[in-house]
């Protein structure tokens, strides 16, 4: 209700007001495209997009309409998207292959997903690797990730809020097919859920640094808190509004319901002892 009112006010204001709202709600560069959760059925029309060729140059992949681009067989294409705690992201890639007459045999295409620390992420469902027959026109790949956890021990490899990288590659193909033109369509959707563990949180999401580093002098004492450099950043998750009150969860209902039940049974127990003579047929 409160956010709806805010948005309405902003819509009524000038573009500056609207810009302010966007600036306040979406500080990260790639965030505007990441808001909301697109339903898989809405992926009707693809928009022209881009892809990077390495982790550092990965192009932001927004929720919603899939991006479409032309590429060459054998290119390694990278995209990045942000995922927040509780989300379960699904990545889908469709490759339109060159005409079968120009190809020399079957090829294997793979979509890999990495977290912000470039650690390989497992797919819980989907076709991560697909073999395209020599006469196939398209090959479809998809990968459903594990649900993003709100907190995990530093030693673990659990998925955490932050950047996720998608890499599309042809992992096995006849060498003469390299360089042939393909069309690629990539999309990411996500479902929200309750983040585990409850009450957990990362002080800083797993968004990697992209600025050039600097070596320190051998005896240098590092500053207590390294300053967060402004400027470009990898795709960030959109943080949901979080205050002292985290919203009505089922725990509130269970606990409040339990309190009511306890109060009722307390009254009932008290009345059991209070008027023993008036109880029917007992005394």
């Amino acid at each position: 209700m409160r956010t709806a009112h805010l948005l309405r006010t902003a819509a009524g204001l000038t573009a500056a007001g609207a810009a302010l709202l966007a600036g306040a709600s979406a500080p990260a560069s790639a965030a505007p495209a990441d808001t909301g959760t697109a339903s898989p059925g809405a992926s009707g029309s693809a928009v022209p997009g881009t892809a990077g060729t390495s982790f550092l140059t990965a192009a932001a992949l927004g929720r919603g309409a899939p991006v479409q681009l032309s590429a060459s067989t054998g290119d390694y294409l990278y995209w990045a998207f942000g995922a927040a705690a509780g989300q379960t992201a699904t990545v889908g890639v469709t490759v339109s292959l060159p005409p079968a007459a120009n190809r020399h045999g079957a090829a294997t295409w793979t979509v890999d997903v990495f977290d912000g620390l470039r650690r390989r992420q497992a797919c819980t469902a989907g076709t991560q690797t697909a073999a395209a027959a020599a006469d196939a026109a398209t090959v479809s790949l998809d990968c459903t990730l594990r649900q993003v956890r709100s907190w995990a021990e530093p030693w673990s490899g659990d998925p955490l809020p932050g950047t996720y990288y998608v890499r599309l590659s042809a992992t096995d193909l006849p060498e003469p097919d390299l360089g042939l033109p393909v069309r690629v369509e990539a999309r990411v959707t996500s479902e929200d859920g309750d983040a585990e563990p409850e009450g957990g949180g990362l002080r800083a999401p797993l968004v990697p640094a992209v600025h050039p580093g600097a070596t320190l002098a051998p005896g240098a004492v590092p500053s207590a808190a390294p300053p967060a450099p402004s400027g470009p950043s990898a795709a960030r998750p959109v943080e949901r509004a979080r205050g002292w009150f985290s919203g009505i969860s089922s725990r509130w209902i269970w606990t409040a319901g339990g309190g009511v039940l306890a109060a009722l049974l307390g009254v009932a127990g008290y009345s059991l002892t209070r008027h023993p003579r008036r109880r029917p047929s007992a005394g």
Partner: protein, 436 residues
């Protein structure tokens, strides 16, 4: 409640905001001062074989000329473009002279469109194909600097002037640390040309495209020029890791690049204070043909050589990089061990009493690649290291509220017991009062 009309208004407002502010990452940091513009050089082969008419009935050179005209016309405002040709001027048969035949016809900068197009129009297919030399000269044209430079090599024939082998030249240029990427476009489907161009591309992290029509050529060059503008400003800091932890360079958060040979270990150190968390990731690029199975390992070691945590990845099949990462934070409330391990070579201990001593965590990057005998080991493979130090995230406490039938049963039982006890107490009090 949001009505439909209101949500449309909201959508309009958000759209307006997006068009004004919500630009991609590259545009978001226009305020940062003195940024070098993206630089691209197109290197066009104008050797005799470009006369062949096999691209939709037109000659290769005329298709290339038309593409170049369109690319020059649609050049992004901030991009600096140069054009170099090879085999364009020496018509003779002397290989010694023909293999020095490369000129820059448009210097790297914001070209005058008319002049550039005139220079392109006068090109006539002539001589040899000194690809290696042209790459070297193109790298010189682009100069050195902070940003990534892109060379787009368009050729229809393999190098006729080796040595130098163009692939070796590309690897050597990449190893100089000038952030040079060579994208190659082949105007023919010839096997030897393709092998040479894919070798050049993979040595520098570029791409290879086989072009079979004028539209494809134009579209691809435009895409590559645009990519140069999109991605040029994120270049890592070049460092050189040590073989031993004790002498390893100390790193602050950021991205670094290095080179590592097969079976080599590279060590780096990162200061981490108690209450902080170290995050590191490493990518090793496979810039040459290697054995089928491969792996990369990143280990974090304490100053006394104990392994703290490791990240590893392995795989087989065609791939560009192997990458892995790790997180680590010093154990909380273990204050005794932090000062004891902070003596990194005796130089880092001069901290005052207020600052907590930082422990130098040593990161060791190693790999398990197999190199075929015919493949050269030097220079090493490109390593990209990302280091970040952030505040540690404490383990969450339990939730404040409950859920489930057991909770409900316990609350109900507690309520019932409380009611009963309260009732009995009240009865006992009344009984006592009546007796008195």
């Amino acid at each position: 409640m949001i009505t439909r009309r209101r949500s449309a208004a909201v959508l309009l407002g958000v759209l307006a905001a997006l068009t004004t502010l919500g630009a991609p990452p590259a545009a978001a940091d226009e305020t940062t001062p003195a940024k070098e513009p993206p630089k691209v050089e197109l290197v066009l082969d104008v050797s005799g074989s470009m006369r062949a008419t096999d691209l939709g009935g037109r000659s290769r050179i005329s298709v290339a000329q038309q593409s170049f005209r369109e690319v020059v016309d649609s050049l992004p405002a901030e991009t600096e473009l140069g054009i170099r040709v090879l085999g364009a001027s020496y018509p003779g048969n002397d290989k010694r002279l023909g293999c020095k035949d490369t000129q820059q016809i448009v210097p790297v900068g914001h070209p005058d469109r008319t002049e550039a197009k005139t220079a392109i129009a006068t090109l006539r297919p002539t001589g040899f194909t000194p690809v290696g030399l042209a790459l070297r000269e193109a790298a010189k044209d682009l100069g050195t600097g902070e940003t990534t430079r892109r060379i787009v090599l368009i050729t229809d024939g393999e190098d006729t002037c080796a040595p130098p082998d163009p692939c070796e030249v590309a690897r050597e240029l990449a190893a100089q640390g000038t952030h040079l990427v060579v994208d190659t476009l082949g105007l023919t489907l010839d096997d030897r040309v393709r092998r040479q161009l894919t070798c050049i591309a993979s040595a520098t992290g570029g791409t290879y495209t086989a072009v079979q029509s004028g539209n494809e050529l134009t579209g691809r060059i435009k895409q590559l020029v645009k990519r140069a503008g999109d991605t040029y400003d994120q270049t890592p800091q070049r460092i050189s890791g040590a073989a031993e932890c004790a002498t390893a360079p100390l790193l602050s958060p950021g991205v670094y690049s290095d080179r590592e040979q097969v079976e080599e270990h590279r060590a780096y150190r990162v200061p981490v204070r108690p209450g902080q968390e170290l995050r590191a990731s490493v990518s090793v690029a496979l810039d040459r043909p290697l054995g089928r199975d491969r792996g990369v390992l990143l280990r974090a070691l304490s100053t006394d050589g104990q392994e703290l945590v490791r990240g590893s990845d392995a795989g087989s099949g065609r791939t560009d990089v192997l990458s892995t990462g790790l997180r680590w934070s010093p154990a909380q409330g273990d204050g005794a061990s932090a000062p004891a391990t902070a003596a990194d070579g005796g130089t880092g201990t001069g901290t005052d009493g207020t600052a907590q001593a930082a422990e130098s965590v040593c990161l060791v990057v190693s790999n398990s690649f197999a190199v075929p005998a015919a493949v050269r080991r030097a220079p090493g493979m490109p390593v990209e290291l990302t280091v970040d130090v952030v505040d540690a995230s404490p383990a969450p406490g339990g939730p404040d509220l409950g859920r489930g039938w057991v909770l409900l049963g316990v609350l109900a039982l507690a309520g019932l017991l409380t009611g009963l006890v309260a009732g009995w107490l009240a009865r006992w009090r009344i009984a006592v009062w009546r007796e008195n």
